[in-house]
């Protein structure tokens, strides 16, 4: 993989010369007015720009990246681990020296729409401009107005810690040629306004695709694979499919349940965890229910795809018998009080384990990390005092965790491959923070 990447990168240096000639042509920002169909169903269309911007910043969860833990909002500094090195998020407060205080609305638009900085330099696509390019100009302007109304924070940007050759920004011309198309959101006349609003939010500002899709060795996403689920590189959480695949995706979800999850962080059956807890906490809980419904309607319309990570049909393996017995004992000792004997959990408190995609999906990473690290769903307005799950890393051995997960993945109608102690051991050392 690394050799392939390197070969690609080297082969591409030639292209950079061409880029110098053609790639850096500055273009006048094209205007992309908000579609009239969409304006009609935009719940914040009539708010003043700063308030609209505040709302849109939540829709994009800008703060999820542009605030370090314990740091100032929008002042950046969060280290985002990638397979190419660490990207440090930037200061987007209106500080004139260290933030974007000297930017114009056109500069800001160009960053979102074209993925270029104030001086025309290519931005690293950890900033999801392949999605943000679909944001309408009016919304970009509102976001900019909101950011300019924030308190300026002096925090010089931390230089990225990327390995060669990824540290060479001009090389991004190649990545862009492969994976970035500048464009505007086009509403689809075959669908109603609600669906289109959902598509606009999900595929643009919401950038769901950035996590919920598999990425190739070069960090790109193939169009056919969009939203079929993927491992978030370096962070080691698996963002599940959002298509209508029954086992892997949203096939068994009602539109109401999707709305509830995004609004409260919990539903009758499930709870968010890992990076999605952050998205709900910082972002989606603040959105109007009409917008959440629109996103749910759009996502629920996506057909299952070939690349959905479906759990394979499993035949009973003999090695599992020991694991199953041991797992049943661990379950009775550590899990049963909350998740109950029949794995049905407790509504809005403890998730259902039977037929839970996070439990039975092919990738065992989420299930293993949930048991190792535990967690609280986010404290939201709709669920301010969530029920938590203790971390078991300190109390259960690799063998016990493998056994209990194998048991859970093969009880109450669940059928999924066994979990090995080696897998558990592998994720024990993954940094949790």
């Amino acid at each position: 993989m690394n050799r392939r990447r390197l070969a690609l990168a080297i082969g591409v240096v030639v292209g950079v010369v061409a880029a110098g000639v053609f790639g850096l042509r500055s273009s006048k920002p094209p205007s992309s007015p908000l579609d009239a169909t969409l304006v009609a169903v935009d719940p914040v269309a009539n708010r003043d720009p700063v308030e609209r911007g505040r709302y849109l910043a939540a829709a994009g969860d800008c703060i999820g990246c542009h605030q370090a833990r314990g740091g100032e909002p929008y002042a950046g500094g969060l280290a985002v681990p990638t397979p190419f090195g660490r990207i440090y998020t930037t200061n987007i407060t209106p500080d004139r020296e260290t933030g974007i205080g000297t930017w114009s609305a056109d500069d800001f638009w160009r960053a979102l729409h074209e993925g270029k900085g104030k001086h025309g330099e290519y931005l690293y696509p950890a900033f999801p401009y392949p999605n943000y390019t679909r944001i309408a100009r009016a919304d970009a302007d509102a976001l900019f107005a909101f950011l300019m109304a924030q308190r300026p924070v002096r925090r010089p940007n931390t230089p990225h810690a990327l390995r060669f050759p990824y540290s060479m920004r001009p090389l991004l011309v190649v990545w862009r040629a492969l994976y970035f198309r500048e464009g505007a959101f086009q509403s689809d006349p075959a669908h109603d306004a609600e669906w289109n609003r959902g598509a606009y939010l999900s595929s643009g500002l919401g950038h769901c695709v950035a996590c919920h899709s598999p990425r190739n060795g070069f960090g790109g996403i193939a169009v056919d694979d969009e939203l079929t689920g993927g491992l978030i590189p370096e962070q080691n959480w698996y963002a599940p499919s959002l298509t209508s695949h029954v086992e892997a995706g949203l096939g068994s979800w009602s539109i109401d349940e999707v709305v509830q999850l995004l609004k409260h962080g919990v539903t009758e059956r499930y709870a968010v965890f890992g990076p999605m807890a952050e998205v709900v906490h910082d972002g989606t809980q603040h959105l109007d229910e009409r917008d959440l419904r629109a996103m749910a309607v759009y996502l629920k319309s996506l057909p299952p795809k070939a690349s959905d990570d479906a759990p394979p049909i499993q035949t009973t393996a003999t090695m599992r018998e020991d694991l199953m017995k041991r797992g049943a004992r661990v379950y009775a000792d550590a899990c049963v009080d909350c998740h109950r004997t029949n794995g049905e959990g407790v509504a809005r408190a403890y998730p259902v384990l039977a037929q839970n995609p996070s439990v039975i999906m092919n990738s065992t990473i989420n299930a293993i990390r949930m048991v190792l690290n535990g967690g609280f769903p986010p404290s939201t307005d709709g669920n301010p005092r969530p029920y938590g799950m203790p971390p078991f890393a300190q109390r259960l051995s690799d063998e016990d965790i493998a056994a209990v997960l194998t048991y859970v993945r093969n009880s109450w109608g669940n059928r999924a491959p066994a979990v090995s102690p080696a897998d558990v051991q592998r994720y024990r050392s993954v940094p949790v923070d």
């Binding site: 009080d337 408190a349 986010p378 404290s379 203790p390 923070d433």
Partner: protein, 233 residues
């Protein structure tokens, strides 16, 4: 008659089967204790600590102390990855409720009783007792009791109880102040004090303190402390 018996037997079977399913699951209650099961796995029932564990007892600690620690974990000012992860998206209101709950919980004497059954380094124990009660004025080390209270059960509003905490945890914590790993609010009084303690001092104080049975409640607030201490905003 036979049929009646059969029916009775069948009824019993059904009854015992349903009694069994009911009996296996404990009734679910919406209580703060239930919501905080995530904490008690390591900190023990009601936060009273766990026998043979290096995780601290949190029961009975001053409420503002617990609240400040919870916020410091959430915001990254205090580093312990599992706690940083757990608390990342919890509100001030909920953290305050957690602190209030654990602050009001009783002690479990078994945690210290069990420790006392093991061999103790007698010299360290005696040196620790002296250091805790008298400090070492020549080196500018104040007596622990001057701030943490005569029974080391803490002082309101935010100075923690140390009596009966795990020895290894206290060595690690005081050591972190000494080596600069602990970023407490300025003035960082514990960093100053720890810098004046030797490794032997730290082990001695921790040894004696870990064998004290926690009893009683935190002291009323004091007007003057022997050294200026910052507090979380």
């Amino acid at each position: 008659m036979r049929i009646a018996r059969l029916v009775a037997a069948a009824t019993c079977l059904v009854a015992s089967a349903s009694a069994q399913t009911v009996a296996t699951d404990r009734p679910f209650e919406d209580t703060i204790a239930q919501r905080l099961r995530a904490c008690t796995g390591c900190h023990g029932d009601r936060g009273a600590g766990v026998v043979d564990s290096a995780f601290p007892r949190i029961a009975g600690q001053p409420v503002d102390y617990l609240f400040a620690q919870l916020r410091a974990f959430r915001d990254g000012a205090r580093t312990y990855a599992p706690m940083n992860f757990l608390l990342a998206r919890q509100s001030d209101g909920y953290l305050r409720e957690m602190a209030t709950y654990f602050s009001a919980q009783p002690q479990d004497p078994r945690v210290v009783d069990t420790r006392a059954l093991k061999p103790v380094d007698r010299a360290a124990f005696d040196a620790g007792r002296a250091l805790v009660h008298e400090g070492r004025p020549a080196d500018g080390v104040p007596a622990c009791v001057a701030c943490h209270g005569p029974t080391m059960m803490g002082t309101l509003p935010a100075i923690p109880a140390l009596a009966g905490l795990p020895r290894d945890l206290m060595i690690e914590q005081i050591g972190s102040w000494k080596t600069g790993g602990h970023r407490s609010p300025e003035p960082n009084c514990m960093a100053t004090i720890a810098s004046r303690m030797s490794g032997g001092d730290i082990v001695a104080a921790a040894t004696w303190l870990s064998l004290q049975q926690p009893a009683g409640v935190p002291e009323a607030p004091r007007e003057a402390l022997p050294i200026a201490c910052g507090r979380a905003p």
